[in-house]
């Protein structure tokens, strides 16, 4: 049984007071808070076995190497990859995607090829492809949103994939709308036309069960810091046979087998893609984060967030003068724990500053998704609350109270009719 009260006690930061009020943290889509287990893992690493990996023959170096390797085994199992050869550590989702753009795509994308992304993407899954398309003379296409602007349009998916892209790079969950994309279906369709598929799992891997062999995508990118681990550790999953064929990414120590004056041979997977001293403590802490999430069960994590998101959508829809974005509560099965909203007549940055005065941390801005927010939703910025395992209904209630404070300060009457 998922016990949010028990989970909350594992997160020391939740004892914090902000502006004299207990902190309500509703920005987990930006980064998650860390449980004591992860904090202690990092601290224990420094106190008990800090040493460089792979090269040391002394005891603590062996311990560090072993712990780093073990974390990869945990991550491989967590996403159901076939082994650690498929788990490359990076700094974050952005670096994972760039790694694919600068190696696989560099080798395989040719002039005139099509790269397909969607209007839901975060800048991290847009900009590397703009850069690549410009460099290679390739075309960048977008799957469009439906007319309600809540999810990808099915006809647009069909139409774009029929153009036979060489690569489809798509998010599994939007960081703005919270919309969950059926990436298994898109992967099937893309594979039928011979495209490779990269899934941006930054907003999905922390919140739901993700299974590489079920989705069958070729690449899957996610960040440790959004799933309880430190900032600076990220993951790129890639299918083994594809990774074998890819050129290396950065050159340096660890990624090589031998080096002569003019030549080098590269190391085996996954080390071929990890040049230089890695973020060992980050990797080890990611392993601890995975242990923590597995103990909670990802199915329960998802159920908890679904219930909370539904609660938030229902509460928010009762507040006059607030516009809510994304799928409605009845489609909660296709919606992650992200709720973007707009208090009509008040700029989102003013909303977020007043929330902060009330001790409630939310994000305001374009959420690193300008094509979606500015071009499609036609807003300069949006306010967003996002949930994780430690949030409860009382957090949502505090957010609703903060909206009332916004309206008081901007003298917006509660009887104002929403004009849409």
């Amino acid at each position: 049984m998922f016990d949010v009260g028990k989970v909350r006690r594992d997160f020391p930061i939740l004892d914090l007071e902000v502006n004299g009020k207990p902190l309500v943290y509703l920005d987990s889509a930006a980064t998650s808070q860390k449980p004591r287990k992860v904090i202690n893992t990092v601290s224990r690493y420094y106190r008990k076995y800090n040493a460089n990996t792979h090269s040391g023959v002394y005891r603590i170096a062996e311990e560090a190497t072993e712990a780093y390797l073990k974390s990869k085994k945990k991550v491989a199992k967590f996403i159901n990859a076939s082994g650690i050869e498929e788990i490359i550590y990076t700094r974050n989702t952005t670096e994972s995607i760039n790694l694919v753009a600068l190696t696989w795509a560099e080798q395989n994308i040719k002039r005139g090829d099509r790269i397909l992304i969607s209007e839901l993407e975060h800048h991290s899954n847009i900009v590397p492809w703009i850069m690549l398309a410009k460099k290679k003379g390739a075309t960048l296409d977008y799957i469009a949103l439906n007319k309600e602007k809540t999810a990808l349009d099915d006809a647009s998916i069909e139409e774009q994939i029929a153009k036979r892209p060489a690569l489809v790079a798509i998010t599994q969950c939007s960081n703005v709308l919270g919309t969950i994309v059926d990436v298994k279906r898109i992967t099937e369709m893309a594979h039928r036309v011979g495209a490779k598929v990269l899934v941006d799992g930054a907003q999905s891997a922390p919140h739901m069960k993700v299974d590489m062999r079920y989705i069958d995508c070729d690449f899957f990118a996610f960040s440790g810091h959004k799933m309880l681990a430190p900032m600076g550790i990220g993951v790129l999953y890639g299918k083994r046979d594809i990774l074998e064929e890819m050129p290396p990414f950065l050159g340096g120590g660890d990624m090589i087998k031998t080096v002569s004056r003019q030549e080098f041979t590269f190391n085996e997977l996954p080390w071929k893609f990890e040049a230089g001293t890695p973020f060992v403590e980050g990797g080890v802490a990611l392993g601890a984060a995975v242990d923590y999430l597995k103990k909670l069960r990802m199915e329960s994590v998802r159920e908890h967030e679904k219930a909370l998101t539904k609660y938030a959508l229902e509460k928010l829809s009762g507040v006059k003068g607030v516009e809510i974005f994304g799928l409605p509560a009845r489609d909660i099965d296709r919606r992650g724990g992200v709720v973007a909203f707009d208090v009509i007549g008040v700029h989102p940055h003013d909303v977020a500053t007043i929330f902060d005065q009330e001790g409630v941390a939310i994000r305001a801005g374009h959420h690193c998704a300008m094509p979606l927010v500015v071009d499609v939703l036609r807003k300069p910025a949006l306010s967003r609350m996002s949930f994780y395992i430690y949030n409860n209904e009382s957090d949502v209630d505090r957010a609703i109270e903060a909206i009332a404070a916004v309206k008081r300060k901007f003298k917006i009457s509660d009887t104002l009719k929403l004009q849409v």
């Binding site: 940055h349 003013d350 500053t353 005065q357 300069p380 910025a381 901007f410 003298k411």
Partner: protein
């Protein structure tokens, strides 16, 4: 000093901004953008004998940037070019009666930055010589 940036005054200026709209026959103007909030402001200045005789702004933004632009255009009317050139963050904080905090300072100073850039263009100086702290 007030402790709440959303004290009555700034919200009042946001809702009923002074000097809003294009200024016909402006001698200097500058359009600036704050990517954080998406604030988008143009400042217009009318200058006679080295004096700001009128100042307007146009555009959209958050309450802090629009409120500040409204207050600033009031404040700089009658000032000399030299006085406007010398203004900095401290003057904006004085004008608002509150320190906006690091995250929102750029919103508060956007209009002054644009006004100084307008001035530099007018005087054919390099606009990169705008006070670095803005």
């Amino acid at each position: 000093m007030s402790t709440d940036i959303y004290a009555e005054e700034i919200v009042a200026h946001y809702e009923h901004p002074h000097n809003k709209g294009k200024l016909d026959g402006a001698d200097a103007q500058f359009h600036d953008f704050n990517p954080l909030c998406g604030d988008d402001l143009t400042i217009y200045l009318k200058i006679i004998d080295g004096k700001i005789v009128d100042a307007h702004f146009d555009g959209t933004g958050c309450a802090i940037s629009v409120g500040s632009a409204s207050m600033l255009t009031d404040l700089i009317k009658g000032k000399s070019i030299k006085e406007l050139e010398k203004m900095g963050v401290a003057d904006v904080v004085d004008m608002l009666g509150i320190e906006p905090g690091p995250a929102r300072l750029k919103c508060a100073t956007l209009s002054l930055k644009a006004a100084q850039k307008a001035l530099f263009v007018y005087m054919k100086k390099d606009s990169s010589s705008v006070s670095k702290e803005l």
